[in-house]
Amino acid sequence: MLLLQLLANGIVTGSALGIVAVSFALIYSTTRVFHVAHAGVFTLGGYLAWSLVRAGVPDLLALAGAMAGCVVLGAAIQRFLYAPLERRGAAQLVVLIASLGTLAVIQNLLAAVYSPDILQFPSAWAGHVFGLGGLRLTGAQLATVGVDFAAFGWVMWFAHGTLLGKRIRAVAANPFLAEITRLEPRRVHVLVMAIASALVCLPGVLGPLDYGLQPYGGVTPLLTATIAMIAGGIGSLAGAFFLAIAIVVLQNLSLLVMPGEWSIGVTFAIFIVFMLFRPRGLFASG
C-alpha cells in the first residue's frame, strides 16, 4: 500500500511538474530562450491567488485572476526584455543572465512584499483528505492531477488542432521561413510567453494549496522540469510532460530504498543516463 501511495503522490506532483515542463518546453522550442524566470512566474501565480483568496475572492476566480497576472508578466518579459535583447543580437548567455536577474528580482520582491516564510492557503477544501481504496489524497492533490492532465490535453489539442497552434509550431520549426511568410515570429513569441505563463500558473497555485507558498520555491520544480524537457526530447511537449511524471514517480519510489534527501540525486542520475545514452531525448523530433 505504501508503494501505491508513493506512486499516486508521484503522479500528482509529476503532473504539476509536467505542466511546468510543457510550458517551459513551449517557450524554449519557440523562442530559444532558456527562460529561468519562468520559475518566478510560477511562484508569482501562487502569491497572486493567495492575495485574492485572502481578499475574499472565490478560489476559482482567484485562480483566473492569478493566471491573468502571470500572462501580463510573461508577455511583458518577452516584449520588454527578451525581444529588445534579441534585436540587439545579444548572445544566449546574455539572455540567460537577464532571465536569472529577472528571477532574482521577482523572488526578492515577493519576499519583501509578503514574507520569506511559508504562507498557507486558507482554503479548507484543499486540505480535506479523501480515501480512495487504501489511498489518501487531499482535495488539492485531486485538483492538481485533474486540472494538470486537462491542461496537458488542452495544450496538445491547441498545438495540433488549431491554426494558432500550428503557427506556433511553424515558428518553432523554421523561424527564418516564418519571417518571410509573414507569420510574425516576434508576435508569436509574445503570445507563447503569455500562454506558457498562464499554464505554469496552474501548478503554481494548485501545488501551494497543498504545501504552502515560499518565494524561492519555484527553482527546484523548474530544475526537474528542465531535465524532463531535455530527457523527453526538446520540441516534444508530450515527452516533457510524461518524463516529468516518470522522474517524480521514480523520485518518490526511491524513498522505499533510500532517504528522502537523495531524491534530487535520483533526478540528476536520470539526467546523466539520458545524456550518456540518449542525448537527444526520448521523443526528439526531426
Binding site: L163, K166, R167, R169, A170, A172, A173, N174, F176, L177, A178, E179, I180, T181, R182, L183, E184, G235, S285, G286
Partner: protein
C-alpha cells in the same frame, strides 16, 4: 518594372558584400542571377527582401521605393523568397505547412489558394498528411515552391532551388516556375549554380562577381560573350 535595385550596397558587420548592384525586371519576366559562390547573389536577394538593410542605393517594387519597408510589408505586396535549403516547416505535415502560410498570405481573390496549389502540384495533395521533413528532397522543394507562391505573388526570388535535386526533378520544377510566370505575369529572380538550365529558362541574365554586376543582358548575348568569362 516590378522589381528594381538601383546602386544597392549591403553587407554583414564591417564587411560590405555587394555594392553598386543594379538590376530590373518586368512582370512575367524571368531573370537568372548567376555567379560563383560568394559573388553576392544571396546577399542581393536578402537585401531586396529586407532581411539585411541596404547601405546605399534604392530597392523599388512596382515603382515605389521599399528600401526601408519591413519584411512583412514587402511580402504583403507580393515579393516572395524561396530560401536555399530551408523553405519548409519540417515538423509540420504538408497540409499544415500550406494551411499556416495560406492563413497568413491568402486573402480574397488570391492568385493561389490551397486548392489551386494542390491542383498545380498534385504530389502535395497525395502527401497532405505526411510530415514535411520526412519527404524526399524533390517533394520538399515542391512544397517550398508551393509556400512561396501562396497568395498573390508578383515577384518570386528563388535561391538555388535545384540544389540536391535529380535532373528530371530540376526540369519539372523549372517548368512549374515558367508556367506560373507566363500564365500569371509573375516575375522571377532565379539564383542558380546550374547555369545552362537557368539560361534556358531566363529572359534576362545578370552575372555577379565579387559583389558587383559584371554582365546584364539577354541569354543570347551572354552565350555570345562566353558566359564563363565573367565568372
Amino acid at each position: 518594372m516590378i522589381l528594381e535595385l538601383a546602386g544597392v550596397a549591403a553587407g554583414y558587420g564591417a564587411k560590405t558584400v555587394i555594392s553598386e548592384v543594379s538590376l530590373a525586371l518586368a512582370p512575367g519576366q524571368i531573370l537568372a542571377l548567376l555567379g560563383h559562390n560568394g559573388a553576392g547573389k544571396t546577399t542581393t536577394l536578402k537585401t531586396a527582401m529586407g532581411l539585411i538593410p541596404a547601405r546605399a542605393g534604392e530597392v523599388r517594387f512596382d515603382g515605389t521605393a521599399i528600401t526601408r519597408l519591413p519584411v512583412a510589408e514587402r511580402v504583403a505586396r507580393g515579393l516572395r523568397l524561396l530560401p536555399e535549403g530551408r523553405g519548409i516547416f519540417p515538423d509540420l505535415s504538408v497540409a499544415e505547412n500550406i494551411d499556416v502560410v495560406a492563413a497568413s498570405l491568402t486573402g480574397k481573390g488570391a492568385m493561389f489558394d490551397p486548392a489551386s496549389v494542390y491542383r498545380l502540384l498534385p504530389v502535395l495533395a497525395e502527401r497532405r498528411a505526411t510530415r514535411a521533413g520526412s519527404m524526399s528532397g524533390g517533394q520538399q522543394q515542391m512544397l517550398a515552391f508551393a509556400l512561396a507562391i501562396l497568395g498573390t505573388p508578383r515577384c518570386l526570388m528563388l535561391d538555388e532551388p535545384s540544389i540536391g535535386l535529380a535532373p528530371n526533378l530540376v526540369e519539372r520544377l523549372f517548368a512549374q516556375v515558367r508556367d506560373v510566370c507566363r500564365a500569371h505575369g509573375v516575375a522571377a529572380v532565379l539564383v542558380e549554380q546550374n547555369v545552362a538550365a537557368a539560361m534556358a529558362l531566363a529572359d534576362q541574365v545578370v552575372i555577379m562577381n565579387n559583389g558587383k554586376v559584371v554582365f546584364d543582358g539577354t541569354p543570347e548575348a551572354a552565350r555570345a560573350a562566353n558566359v564563363w568569362h565573367f565568372f
